[in-house]
Symmetry: C2
Subunit: 285 residues, 2 copies
């Protein structure tokens, strides 16, 4: 199987490593519009060779769009158009790995080649980006969501399931709208809270140099995601606007609950809030 990976960053690059290593792909054809990244990806060995977008889509059995969702949503109809030019019987598959799904799926809902597209989201990542951030094992044991699978050809879904099986992921099926609510809660909000925490401390740091010295392990862990890349996160927050706004509003209410309890020296209420929050132990090991 020839696999085109468009965007050899953290996710695309890590997929490329594993798909080759676990013999799912015979050849990885890389595409990256950034010439420095493209060169690095080749040097690191993420791809066997680089090609233009159109050449890669034409040559490969599967095209993985591993670019920020703002770019992916523009590329997807173009890939399906190219498949359409090959005729109704084209069995090539295009998939994306973006963190917001509804807009992607809506953009090709009526496309005659819609069945050749499988919408997926491997739930894995780090705060780093670019080909240097790619690493083996990133997906091991993690969940991968396939959205609106009934709109894809069953054969295409089967191939993509095998692909995620090669990455050692558990596949979960969900509709795009539920997916986008869930990721707002378990992923997008954590990024916004980390960004806000970083901004708060950096504001202070202008006049207080000691903060550098004192940053504790707890702070580092909480603020880690604030290193995340704007190219990736601007379109996510923008495309998942309504869900993210809803979660931010709930979150600000919780912050205000703490504020009020602390302002009132209401230790019973602070304890109640903390002990309720402690229930997260059930979810997070």
């Amino acid at each position: 199987m020839k696999v085109a990976v468009v965007g050899l960053g953290l996710i695309g690059g890590s997929m490329a490593i594993e798909l080759k290593r676990r013999h799912f792909a015979d050849e990885i054809v890389g595409v990256d519009s950034d010439s420095v990244n493209a060169e690095a990806a080749l040097k690191i060995g993420l791809a066997d060779r680089m090609a233009s977008f159109d050449d890669a889509v034409r040559e490969c059995d599967i095209t993985i769009l591993a670019v920020p969702v703002g770019a992916a949503v523009r590329m997807l109809p173009h890939v399906l158009d190219m498949y359409g030019q090959e005729g109704k019987g084209c069995r090539k598959i295009v998939m994306d790995v973006c963190s917001v799904k509804e807009q992607m799926i809506r953009s090709v809902h009526y496309h005659p080649m819609r069945g050749n597209y499988v919408s997926s989201h491997p739930m894995a990542g780090t705060e780093y980006s670019g080909p240097w951030a790619a690493m083996p094992g990133l997906f091991d044991g993690r969940a991968c969501i396939i959205c609106n699978s009934e709109e894809s050809d069953p054969r295409a879904v089967k191939v993509v399931e095998n692909l995620f099986d090669a990455l050692n992921m558990r596949v979960i099926y969900m509709n795009a709208s539920n997916h986008d609510v869930h990721t707002a809660y378990v992923s997008h909000i954590s990024h916004v809270t980390s960004f806000a925490l970083a901004l708060t401390v950096l504001d202070k740091e202008r006049d207080e140099k000691h903060i550098f010295d004192l940053a504790s392990g707890g702070f580092s862990s909480t603020v880690r995601l604030a290193k995340s890349n704007a190219d990736m996160w601007v379109p996510i927050l923008s495309q998942n606007r309504d869900n993210v706004l809803h979660v931010i509003d709930t979150y600000i209410e919780k912050m205000k609950d703490f504020r009020e309890a602390i302002a009132d020296f209401d230790e019973d209420r602070i304890r109640e809030l903390i002990e309720s929050a402690n229930k997260i132990k059930r979810i997070i090991r």
Copy 2:
């Protein structure tokens, strides 16, 4: 040197391990009002033996108060009273390791034995608590703050510096009021934001079971501190009220900046906020 450790939890227990291992202490006398913890501490080997609070203070050269700050603030004057009963020349030392310093220090400001107290805060920890959470190496290379050292006997400060040297910590000197501002920024606020994040997700989880499955690495890291113990955190947030409220207010403003930019689909502004937050890379490796 005989060292009494009052409270053999994460911090006290970890100090006990290292002080014995690195030959700073010849004997560790443990004190723990919780009988299960006391038994566990002995079994794990954190202390050579357990004793009552008064016996331990009487017998030991150094008493380390490693209990929540609400309890420590009540114990401290009592220890200094006991030292006073031994006479003006008593050379024993009491120290605490709490995360808020001003109220502790104010509580003994006029005590005739004030010089025997050294106020310190080793900046290390995990989200776990109790004797089972104690571990070697917890303090390695981390910062430790000594507050208002000019109010302590220089000899006592010297001994405590040696103690932190044995723990392999870098000592930083600061007045209590600055300390409390800094810890509000680099530690206390991260706990509040994690608690609030946990509450937000748990609220949702009532009707959405998938969140369990989907919790990603980024979410786990951001919400990690929400497992932290209420016994420890209620008095911290309460004693450092004014600083914490100030930081919460700044933080809520930052969240609202994001909210507004996302609500307005203002991608340039979202990018600006994220790229400003990215500057945290300078601080956090």
